[in-house]
C-alpha cells in the first residue's frame, strides 16, 4: 500500500488530502472538505497529468524561440522525458499558432503545438 499527500488545487482552501491505495485503487481519503476534492485527489493519486509548456528553436528567424504546449495533459512522470525529446527539435518559419510541432509525443496521444507565431 502506498500513501500520498496531495494538496487540492480546486479552490483556494487547499485541503491537504492523504490518499492511501494501490496502483489504480484508492482505499481511503482523508482531509478533503468536499466531493470535488475527492475526485481531484483520486486522479492525482492514480495518475497525475500536467500540461507541458516549453519552447522550440526557430532556425533563421529574428526570434530564436517559439513557445509550445501539449494540447492535452501528459503523464506527470513523463515531463522530463518529453523535454529531452523537444530539446532536439527545431522548426523553420513560418510557424502558425496551434501548428503541430511534435505529433503524439512519446505515444501519450498529446501533440506538442505552437502557442506563438513566427511569420
Amino acid at each position: 500500500m502506498t500513501e500520498k499527500q496531495i494538496t487540492c488545487i480546486i479552490c483556494p482552501i487547499g485541503c491537504r488530502i492523504t490518499v492511501r491505495g494501490e496502483d489504480d485503487t484508492v482505499l481511503s481519503l482523508e482531509g478533503n472538505q468536499c466531493i470535488r476534492g475527492e475526485a481531484y485527489a483520486k486522479n492525482e493519486f492514480i495518475h497525475p497529468v500536467r500540461i507541458l509548456t516549453t519552447t522550440v528553436k526557430v532556425e533563421g528567424a529574428d526570434t530564436p524561440l517559439i513557445p509550445v504546449r501539449s494540447d492535452q495533459p501528459v503523464p506527470q512522470e513523463k515531463l522530463m522525458e518529453c523535454m529531452d525529446l523537444i530539446k532536439e527539435v527545431s522548426v523553420t518559419k513560418p510557424v502558425l499558432r496551434y501548428q503541430v510541432i511534435v505529433p503524439d509525443i512519446l505515444g501519450t496521444g498529446a501533440n506538442i503545438v505552437a502557442t506563438g507565431e513566427v511569420l
Binding site: 494538496t7 488545487i9 479552490c11 483556494p12 482552501i13 487547499g14 497525475p48 500536467r50 500540461i51 507541458l52 509548456t53 516549453t54 519552447t55 528553436k57 529574428d62 526570434t63 530564436p64 524561440l65 513557445p67 509550445v68 504546449r69 506527470q76 515531463l79 522530463m80 523535454m83 499558432r97 502557442t115 506563438g116 507565431e117
Partner: protein, 402 residues
C-alpha cells in the same frame, strides 16, 4: 490591448497602441506557462495564446500600433511624445490616453541583500525573458528568493530546462503566490519551500558561488545561529512588483502611496481627466483575467470621454480600507445618474480563514459575503450598485466570523 479593443467597440474612431517592445502582448509573451483565462475565457491558456486573442481582435477592429516606440512624456492635455528609429521624435495628440505601462520587478537593490556583487543574480522575470524568448540559459544550480508566482513558475521552468533548484526561500510564514503554483511548480519536482527564511548574504567574486540562508524571527529579523550556506551559481529574485509610473508622475497624476499607482475612480480615470489607467500600472494583479476586465472599463470610458459622453459627477464616494483590508481599487467612485454596477477589487493585509466581507456606505450595510479563505496574494472582489451609494465614504471590512 483589452483597453484598445474595448475603446474601438465603444465607437472610438482612432485607437493607437504605442509599444516599446518589437511585438505586441507585453509580459504575456514570455509567460509561456498555462493558467491564463480560466475565468475570462473559461479555459486554460498560455500567455502567448491569451495575448494572441486580443491581438487578433485589435487587428480586426482596426486598432493601429506603433512598435519599437518609447514614450518619453505624456502631457496632462493628452499629448504623447514618443520616439522610434523610423519616425524620430513623434507627437501624438489624443483626446484621451490609457496608461498601461505595467510594472517592474523589485531588485536586489530594493531589498538590500548584503554580500558581494557577482554575476548570476537575476530578477525572476528577467531570467524568464532570457530563457523563454532569447534562448539564453541563466544558470545550473539555483536558489530562488521569494515565493511569488513568477518565482515558483521559474523554479519549474529552470528544472525542466535541466537546472537544479536547491530551494525557494520565503521570508513570510505563508506563500506569496497561488497555491496551485506551489503544487504544480514546487511539489511536482520536489523543490523545497523554506517559509520564514531569507537570504542573508551573497557569496562569490566573478560569479555567484553560494548564498547564506537563515530562519527569521517574528519581526522578520534573521536568526544568525540558523544561517546555512547553500552552494549555487544563480540567485533569482521574486520579491514583489512595483507599478511603473514615471510617465504618470511627470503628467502630475495623483498617486496612491499604498498601490504605487494612480488614484482612479470606477471609470479607471485618474486625477487628470483625459488620462485613464489600467492593469499593473494601477495596482499589481495576480490574475490577467482581472486585468482584462479592468482594462475593458478603462478603454470604454476613455472612448466615452473622447467622444464627450462621460457624464458629470454629482458627488464622490471615497473607498476606505477597513479591518484587514490593505487597499481598494478604485479609490473613489464618481456618482452619476447612470445605473451601473461598480466592481471593487481589494487585497487583505493578512491571511484569514472563514471570514465575512462587509460593505458599508456611510455606516449603512450595502452588501456582504463570506469567504472560506482570504490571502494577501489573491485579490478579492465585491460588487456594489451605483444607485445604493450616497456621497461620503464606502468601507470594506474583512473579519473572522460567518
Amino acid at each position: 490591448m483589452a483597453a484598445a479593443v474595448s475603446a474601438k467597440k465603444q465607437g472610438a474612431k482612432q485607437v493607437l497602441v504605442i509599444e516599446r517592445d518589437s511585438s505586441l502582448g507585453g509580459i504575456l509573451q514570455q509567460c509561456i506557462h498555462p493558467g491564463f483565462g480560466l475565468s475570462y475565457y473559461d479555459e486554460e491558456l498560455t500567455g502567448p495564446e491569451y495575448a494572441g486573442r486580443f491581438i487578433r481582435q485589435a487587428q480586426e477592429l482596426g486598432v493601429k500600433t506603433l512598435l519599437n516606440s518609447m514614450v518619453l512624456e505624456v502631457l496632462p492635455d493628452g499629448t504623447v511624445i514618443c520616439t522610434n528609429a523610423e519616425y524620430g521624435i513623434t507627437t501624438v495628440r489624443a483626446k484621451s490616453v490609457v496608461l498601461a505601462m505595467g510594472c517592474r520587478e523589485r531588485t536586489r537593490g530594493n531589498i538590500q541583500i548584503p554580500g558581494t556583487r557577482p554575476a548570476g543574480i537575476y530578477t525572476a522575470g528577467a531570467a524568464q525573458r532570457l530563457i523563454n524568448r532569447q534562448n539564453e540559459m541563466v544558470g545550473r544550480r539555483v536558489v530562488i528568493l521569494g515565493s511569488g508566482d513568477i518565482g515558483m513558475i521559474m523554479a519549474r521552468r529552470m528544472t525542466l530546462e535541466g537546472a537544479q533548484v536547491v530551494a525557494v526561500v520565503e521570508i513570510m510564514d505563508f506563500l506569496a503566490g497561488l497555491t496551485r503554483n506551489r503544487v504544480q511548480c514546487l511539489d511536482d519536482f520536489g523543490i523545497p519551500l523554506l517559509l520564514s527564511h531569507t537570504v542573508t548574504r551573497v557569496m562569490g567574486n566573478r560569479r555567484v558561488e553560494g548564498v547564506c540562508v537563515a530562519r527569521v524571527d517574528e519581526n522578520k529579523k534573521p536568526i544568525l545561529e540558523t544561517e546555512e550556506f547553500y552552494p549555487c551559481d544563480t540567485l533569482l529574485l521574486s520579491v514583489g512588483l512595483i507599478p511603473e509610473n514615471e510617465l504618470s508622475r511627470t503628467a502630475h497624476v495623483e498617486m496612491s502611496a499604498i498601490t504605487g499607482g494612480p488614484v482612479v475612480n470606477q471609470c479607471m480615470q485618474t486625477s487628470v481627466p483625459c488620462l485613464f489607467a489600467c492593469g499593473n500600472v494601477v495596482h499589481v494583479n495576480d490574475l490577467v483575467d482581472n486585468v482584462s476586465w479592468e482594462s475593458e472599463v478603462a478603454g470604454r470610458e476613455a472612448a466615452r470621454y473622447a467622444m464627450g459622453q462621460l457624464p458629470q459627477s454629482a458627488g464622490t464616494v471615497t473607498c476606505e480600507p477597513g479591518n484587514n483590508v490593505r487597499y481598494i481599487c478604485p479609490q473613489h467612485i464618481a456618482l452619476t445618474e447612470e445605473k451601473a454596477e461598480v466592481d471593487l477589487y481589494f487585497r487583505v493585509k493578512l491571511p484569514e480563514e472563514k471570514v465575512r466581507i462587509r460593505l458599508l456606505c456611510n455606516g449603512k450595510e450595502l452588501g456582504k459575503k463570506s469567504a472560506i479563505k482570504v490571502n494577501p496574494g489573491e485579490m478579492e472582489h465585491i460588487k456594489v450598485s451605483m444607485s445604493d451609494l450616497t456621497a461620503g465614504k464606502l468601507e470594506v471590512h474583512v473579519a473572522k466570523g460567518v
